[in-house]
Amino acid sequence: MADDSQRNFRSVYYEKVGFRGVEEKKSLEILLKDDRLDIEKLCTFSQRFPLPSMYRILVWKVLLGIIPPHHESHALVMKYRKEQYWDIHHALHVIRFINDSTPQVDVFLRIHQLESGKLPRSLAFPLEPEDEVFLAIAKAMEEMVEDPIECYWLVSCFVNQLNSKHKDSLQQLPKILEQYLNIEDNRLLMHLKACAAMSKLPYDLWFKKCFAGCLPESSLQRVWDKVISGSCKILVFVAVEILLTFKMKIIALNTAEKITQFLENIPQDNTDAIVSKAVDLWRTHCGTPAHSV
């Protein structure tokens, strides 16, 4: 609690009055000043507050282990990362998997494949579903991060985290979604069930791709903050909130195909509100977000 002494004593009241995130930037800066970054604290912070965009990439990199918690080694590690990237890039260039005109996202995918030893023998090989997921996430991440190397590492680590850390919980998410939807809006659930649409909801898009390509980047960042900091349940609440927001339209639609079609292409105008509501919902249902997974 040494941090608190440095924090503005008014910060307590800010939140009471309804201002969020007034003091967060400052506290985050304090957190980031520690020489050995406390990853636990960063996780908690990221869960509790929205990240300021200027520190988001740094926090993500730390949380995903791209850079170590020590400031000293950041430069070195990043250098390694960079070299590694360029090595692989070069290798792929040599074996003619990529060339200068290859889209960045494909380059990322190939690098990732090579790194994980899953590089196909030929370019002509069809993409695996996991590759599709990678591509979607990479596309979204490309919008958020400017530096291609950072971007690659973020995507790669993010996907790895999803595949390793959240693999089991991701499979549970559809069930949890149904459960929370039942709590929030029974009627909508009934309707979806009546349409037999529950099984056909775009779970891949929602949970495997983590809404990449579904929400605009500005909203997506806030969702991913939570995912990267370790909570993949937020995905469920985002999905629930999407369903609730477009409840009227969904109820108007009768077939599962139409509903799926609609949900895959939801209007992008008030996604910020959806995400905010989803975060609120997530907080109410999962209590203190620090301990939820």
């Binding site: 050995r36 170590p68 918690p69 020590h70 090595d87 290798a91 090579l114 030893g117 023998r121």
Partner: protein, 1159 residues
């Protein structure tokens, strides 16, 4: 010029007698005027008019529209300059102006006005002057404000002409002067009416000069007697009356009426706006004060004139002018007849002003003398067609002298009417006309001298008149006698009048006309008026059933009061009609007046008036009843004598002149036979001498001008009249509207009252309801209060109960607590009990021990006592020893004490040391911890870096794998292609190689060789395609078959040698490798096979692969180039050796398996 000719033709056709042509031509002219804006046509028209005096041309000219006015005015101006054409030009101008063209405002700017003024200032021709003055007078109200710049010109003209009237520098005929005088008089009125201040100041300055004084006395002063003081003289100023604002809201006719209002002259005056009523009242009252009977007579005269003249004159004109007269004349006649009427209306005021009526008789003769001085001619007759009836009075009044007055006044009045009724035939006029002619002849003859010797001054007139009347009276006596006789007869029998008609009607007419001309004069007239008054009901009764009127009139006639009463009653009525609207007077048709009259009579007016009269003027009534004829006579005479003072207006003079002229003319006419009257005109025209004709013509012209001027005035009056009528209609409509509104108001007030009543009722009801409501509310409130009270009570109760309940609960809790406590206590006591019991048992055991110890103590005590006894036995011999011992012990004690001290000091020191060391230890520990932490930190840091490095390393591995794959792939392809090429060449070489191998090879070698081949096959095969496991399998199976049967080794070797190309080229030195190589190849094949299935032990695989790669490199070296780097060889040696040792085991295994397989 063609047009010019055309115009000429048109002009010639303008006076065509054919109506159709006439219209066409007129239309053509108008079209031309519209199309052509040039002055030519107008000029031609003016020329033509001046030449021919064409009415059509005049019509066209007078209706000219805007663009042509300038040409017309220019042309007129041009002709005005020439003396010869001046007169017709002026008359043309007069015509045009009287039309009131739309461009009349331009007149003030036109040079024409200047030239007109110049002409008026300089010309010496009376006719031109008179015409010009009339034109000017007509023009003045049209240009009231723009004409102000010429004010002094106007005034100058007035001064000049007024002087002219007196001095007559041109020595023209006096008859002209009358006209001139009349026109100057009109100018006076106009100027005084329009610019009073300026005019008066002019008069003041002009007539203050001595040379002008006479003119003033003679001419101007009498004129001034006919005007009232202009209000502007009081309120206005010179500048104010020239202010455009003053004129802006006045139209032409307004100006004319304004001027007329100022006039006191009955011929000129107008009675709007209460002027009249005042003057009227004045005159009536004054008259009554003065001489009541006479006054009443005067009133009578007025009334009688006002009413009777209209009927008589038109009728006369009609009868006397059998269609011959031009149309203009008839209105003129009416005009003439109406004027007298106005005069009659006004006369009383004039009388009251002067109280000298008899001047007029004097004037009449004078006029007649003038006219008679010239022989009567048809020239006079033309205009005097209507003048004839008027002419008669000139002669007839003298007969009606004071002598006859009494007789006639009463009886004849009643008697005459029926006669006239009967006698409205043409025959009768003839009779009296003859008489008139005779009379006039006589009078003229007598009056010749006075008229010739002096200019007709108004002051002279009475004398003339007097003379005339006296002369005439002799002649008239006859008639009067006869009349008186007849009257006496009539009084007895009203129906007896027929024979008298011949006499009476002319008489009546003469009276009437006389009175018309004379106005308000002496008593003779008033008596005549008595007649006329009676005649008036008669005339009205012409239209009515005769008997009725006859019956009514007699009643009135008997008493002189009655008549005046009736007359006075009527006269106001008549006057009112005349004044209020002038309609009755101005309407040319007599029918209207009779209608009104009838109403008056039918409604029983006379009694009403009588009554009023009695009430209002009882004195006069008495007087009338008391004194009848003689008094009246006396007064009449008296008045007659008095009235020589009054001045007559020039208009009257002119009127009289005309009348006389007309009379003379009728007399002339009467000499001729009736039917040939029209023819006679020409006949007359031929005979008289030319200068007379000229004079007469001029006179006629002047008269015409005068007439036109009067007509213009009439038009203005008519205009005004129409407007006033409209106002009256509006006013009545508004009054009705007001009345209706009042009714509505009343109704609404009633409604409001009713509503108020109902409102009160409703309010009362409302109050009642409110009270009830309040009562109910109060009740309910009380109920609520009660209920609330109850509720509170209950609430209190419940609270009490609740408190009780809580108390109970508390008690229960307390009790429970107590119970718990008790339980606790019980438990505690139980515990205590057990403890106590334990203690008890303990104490028992202790007691036992105590007892045992006591016993021991006792035993020990006994033993001690025994030892003490022994000691005491020994003690005596050891005292020295004891002392020695004591000392030794003391020393020892001291030593021990020192030692103790030392020990304690050491202890302190060591303790301090320990503390120091402990603190150091803690520091060390801390340091150690820090070091640990740091180490941890560093470790973590290193781990992070290591991880990065590791991942990099892994990536590198992946890269190399990928490269390997790629290379192998490429090799596979390369080998495949080269294999096919060298297939044949390699056959022999392969055989040789086989032989060599047979020589040096043993069983193992063979086996190894076979294995080697297999390994080679395996080597070559796998990289071909990673996915095509089928081919791999195929190859392996294919290759494995030769292994199994040992006999077929050669054949198999053949085959293999056929397949393998690099093996043949392998040197022997490298031959040592095959075994391991073959093993490795096998291993690699296995691993490749396994790899797709599981990647569990990647490291092994990678190692194998590495070795594989090295092998392939080695294999390649001889075939391709001897540039195989030594470093990789050396590098690969160590793992190879390791592997080979392991590989041996594997070979063994493999061989075993193989053997097993074989077996």
């Amino acid at each position: 010029m063609a047009q010019q000719g055309n115009v000429g033709e048109l002009l010639s056709m303008l006076d065509s007698p054919v109506l159709g042509v006439l219209e066409d031509i007129t239309a053509a002219f108008k079209d031309n005027l519209i199309c052509d804006r040039g002055p030519m046509l107008v000029n031609n028209l003016v020329d033509y008019y001046l030449e021919t005096n064409s009415q059509q041309a005049l019509h066209i000219l007078s209706t000219l529209q805007e663009p042509h006015d300038k040409h017309l005015l220019d042309k007129i101006n041009e002709y005005m300059g020439k003396a010869a054409t001046r007169l017709p030009t002026l008359s043309l101008l007069g015509h045009v102006i009287r039309r009131q063209p739309s461009w009349k405002h331009k007149l003030s700017q036109a040079p024409l006005l200047l030239s007109l003024l110049k002409c008026l200032k300089t010309d010496t021709d009376v006719v031109v002057l008179t015409t010009g003055v009339l034109v000017l007078i007509t023009m003045l109200p049209m240009i009231p404000q723009s004409g102000k710049q010429y004010l002094h010109d106007f005034f100058g003209i007035f001064g000049r002409l007024s002087a002219w009237c007196l001095q007559n520098p041109g020595h023209v005929a006096e008859i002209y002067l009358v006209h001139l005088h009349a026109s100057v008089y009109a100018l006076f009125h106009r100027l005084y009416g329009m610019y009073p201040c300026n005019f008066v100041s002019f008069l003041r300055s002009h007539y203050s000069m001595k040379e002008n004084l006479e003119t003033f006395e003679e001419v101007v002063k009498p004129m001034m007697e006919h005007v009232r003081i202009h209000p502007e003289l009081v309120t206005g100023s010179k500048d104010h009356e020239l202010d455009p604002r003053r004129w802006k809201r006045l139209e032409t006719h307004d100006v004319v009426i304004e001027c007329a209002k100022i006039s006191l002259d009955p011929a000129e005056a107008s009675y709007e706006d209460g002027y009249y009523s005042v003057s009227r009242k004045l005159c009536t009252s004054s008259k009554h004060h003065q001489t009541d009977p006479s006054a009443s007579y005067y009133i009578d005269t007025q009334s009688s004139y006002g009413t009777s003249t209209p009927y008589s004159t038109p009728r006369l004109t009609l009868s006397q002018m059998p269609g011959q007269l031009p149309q203009i004349l008839s209105p003129q006649s009416i005009r003439l007849s109406t004027e007298p009427q106005q005069v009659t209306i006004w006369s009383p005021s004039a009388v009251c002003g002067m109280t000298t009526p008899p001047t007029s008789p004097g004037i009449v003769p004078s006029e007649s003398s003038q006219s008679s001085s010239q022989p009567y001619s048809k020239a006079f007759g033309t205009s005097g067609g209507k003048g004839t009836p008027l002419g008669t009075p000139a002669t007839s009044p003298p007969p009606c002298t004071s002598d006859d007055f009494v007789h006639i006044s009463l009886p004849s009045a009643a008697a005459t009417p029926p006669k006239k009724e009967d006698k409205t035939d043409p025959g009768r006029p003839l009779l009296y006309r003859q008489q008139n002619v005779i009379n006039s002849d006589k009078s003229l003859g007598k009056l010749n001298t006075p008229s010739s010797k002096s200019s007709v001054t108004l002051s002279d007139l009475p004398e003339f008149l007097g003379g005339l009347s006296f002369e005439d009276s002799a002649e008239k006596d006859r008639e009067e006698d006869a009349i008186s006789k007849e009257i006496s007869e009539i009084t007895t029998d009203a129906e007896h009048m027929v024979p008298r008609g011949g006499f009476d009607s002319p008489f009546y007419r003469t009276n009437e006309s006389l009175s018309g001309s004379q106005k308000k004069t002496h008593s003779v007239v008033s008596t005549v008026q008595g007649h006329s008054q009676t005649s008036e009901p008669l005339t009205s009764s012409l239209d009515k059933p005769g008997p009725e009127s006859a019956r009514e009139t007699p009643k009135q006639t008997f008493t002189p009061i009655d008549k005046p009463c009736g007359g006075s009653g009527e006269s106001p009525a008549g006057n009112r009609e005349g004044t209020s609207g002038e309609t009755s007077i101005l309407t040319p048709s007599p029918c209207k007046v009779p209608a009104q009259r009838r109403v008056v009579f039918g409604s029983g007016q006379p009694p009403q008036y009588e009554h009023l009269f009695e009430v209002a003027l009882p004195k006069t009534a008495y007087l009338f009843v008391g004194k009848k004829t003689e008094e009246l006579l006396k007064k009449a005479k008296g008045t007659q004598d008095d009235d020589c003072m009054s001045s007559t207006s020039p208009v009257e003079v002119l009127d009289r002149l005309i009348q006389q002229g007309a009379d003379a003319h009728t007399k002339e006419l009467n000499k001729l036979s009736l039917p040939s009257k029209s023819a006679d005109w020409t006949h007359f025209g031929g005979s008289p001498p030319s200068d007379e004709i000229h004079t007469l013509r001029n006179q006629l012209l002047l008269l015409h001008n005068q007439l036109l001027y009067e007509r213009f005035k009439r038009q203005q009056h008519a205009l005004r009249n129409r407007r006033l009528l409209r106002k009256v209609i509006k006013a009545t409509a508004l009054e009705e509207h007001n009345a209706a509104m009042k009714d509505q108001l009343k109704l609404q007030e009633k409604e409001i009252q009713a509503l108020k009543l109902s409102l009160q009722k409703e309010q009362a009801r409302y109050h009642q309801f409110q009270e009830e409501h309040e009562n109910i509310v109060a009740q309910l409130h009380s109920q609520i209060r009660q209920l609330q009270h109850d509720r509170e009570e209950f609430y209190n109760q419940s609270q009490e109960l609740q408190t009780k309940l809580e108390d109970c609960r508390n008690m229960i809790a307390d009790l429970r607590l107590e119970l718990k406590k008790a339980n606790n206590k019980v438990c505690h006591t139980e515990l205590l009990l057990s403890q106590v019991s334990q203690k008890l048992s303990n104490s028992e055991s202790v007691q036992q021990q105590m007892e045992f110890l006591n016993r021991q103590l006792l035993v020990l005590g006994e033993v001690n006592e025994l030892y003490l006894e022994q000691l005491q036995h020994k003690h005596t011999d050891t005292t020295k020893e004891v002392e020695m011992l004591n000392a030794a012990f003391r020393k020892e004690l001291e030593k021990a004490k020192l030692c103790v001290q030392q020990q304690s000091q050491r202890l302190d020191a060591s303790q301090k040391r320990i503390a120091e060391l402990e603190s150091q230890l803690a520091k060390k520990d801390h340091l150690f911890l820090e070091q640990k932490k740091y180490l941890e930190d560093v470790k973590i840091q290193a781990r992070g870096q290591l991880q990065a490095v590791e991942s990099r390393y892994k990536a590198q591995k992946r890269i190399t794998q990928a490269f390997e794959l790629e290379i192998l792939d490429l090799f596979g392809r390369l080998e495949k292609s080269s294999l096919l090429k060298k297939l044949e060449d390699d056959k022999t070489e392969a055989a040789e190689a086989a032989e060599e191998r047979l020589d040096c090879g043993n069983e193992d070698a063979v086996a190894g060789y076979s294995e080697e081949t297999i390994g080679r096959n395996g080597e070559t095969k796998p990289p071909s395609t990673r996915g095509s496991s089928s081919s791999k399998g195929g190859s392996s199976s294919e290759l494995s078959t030769p292994e199994k049967p040992q006999n077929q080794r050669f054949s198999s070797r053949w085959e293999t040698s056929m397949l393998l190309e690099p093996s043949t080229t392998l040197p022997l030195t490298v031959g040592s490798l095959p075994s391991s190589k073959s093993f490795l190849g096998m291993k690699a094949r296995e691993l490749f096979r396994n790899k797709s299935e599981s990647q569990c032990d990647e490291e092994g695989v990678t190692i194998n692969r590495l070795s594989d790669a090295l092998k392939t490199e080695l294999c390649k070296d001889p075939s391709m180039e001897t540039k195989a780097p030594p470093s990789p060889d050396n590098l690969s040696l160590s793992p190879k050796i390791q592997e080979s040792s392991v590989g041996q085991l594997h070979i063994m295994d493999y061989n075993e398996t193989h053997h097993d397989h074989k077996g």
